[in-house]
Symmetry: C2
Subunit: 109 residues, 2 copies
DNA sequence: TTCTTATATTACTAGGTAGTTGTACTTACT
DNA sequence: AGTAAGTACAACTACCTAGTAATATAAGAA
């Protein structure tokens, strides 16, 4: 069992860092519907082809997505749906955080 | 309910990015035992005082930790233990990823 | 007041990274 | 062969950030 210790904090941080980029989150969300090509992903997210391709390499490297080549097109898909569970957790935390900040603002009035 | 859409992908990414740094993960792990001062955290993590303080500001800003001042010392503590659930998820994913890469290496031999 | 302690902040440097442009590569089609 | 489509990669720029050193701030002790 991997734990959050000195030795592997870097590897764990790398996985979090891969999710710490808006474009990569949008790519994962777009892939949620199912397998998708690079061109389609660029269209759905509004990003440039080269940039989308580069972000997909990061997600591939960290094992969040998998790739299947067919002719000239690359088909990407989510490998571990747990990533959306993580998004839900961080969304929940974000909601609490927004509530907390709203209360602080109200108290200042 | 907050969702992973175009409008709030940035806010969600910010929260992931805060966890995408080894030193900050070590700080959270050190805080797991309970409330702790900056000096103690610097000692436990082996980081410099200024650096630890700066990282704590990031965790504070994102709501992962809370602060209580007493005299000249600041006491930090975890606000939402859910953050460790996220670490477990990412550790699980990391384990799978390592297994996958090990298998790839074996296949090449 | 002066000194000490604990923390926060500022300024700086080195390294990293997102986005873009251009290009190379691969496959399929004619 | 040549051409077109889809993707990956290299080079570049602009920006961001981790770490450090020095300083500022604040509370207490002498």
């Amino acid at each position: 069992m991997i734990e959050l210790s000195d030795t592997n904090a870097s590897a764990i941080a790398e996985r979090f860092k891969a999710l710490g980029e808006p474009m990569r989150l949008l790519l994962l969300e777009a892939l949620r519907r199912g397998e998708c090509s690079v061109g389609e992903l660029a269209e759905r997210t509004g990003g440039g082809q080269a940039n989308v391709s580069k972000h997909l390499q990061v997600l591939l490297q960290q094992g969040y997505v998998d790739r299947r080549k067919e002719g000239t097109t690359s088909w990407y898909r989510i490998t571990d749906p747990q990533v959306f569970r993580m998004c839900e957790l961080v969304c929940g935390g974000l909601e609490q955080e927004l509530d907390r900040k709203r209360k602080l603002l109200r108290r200042r009035k």
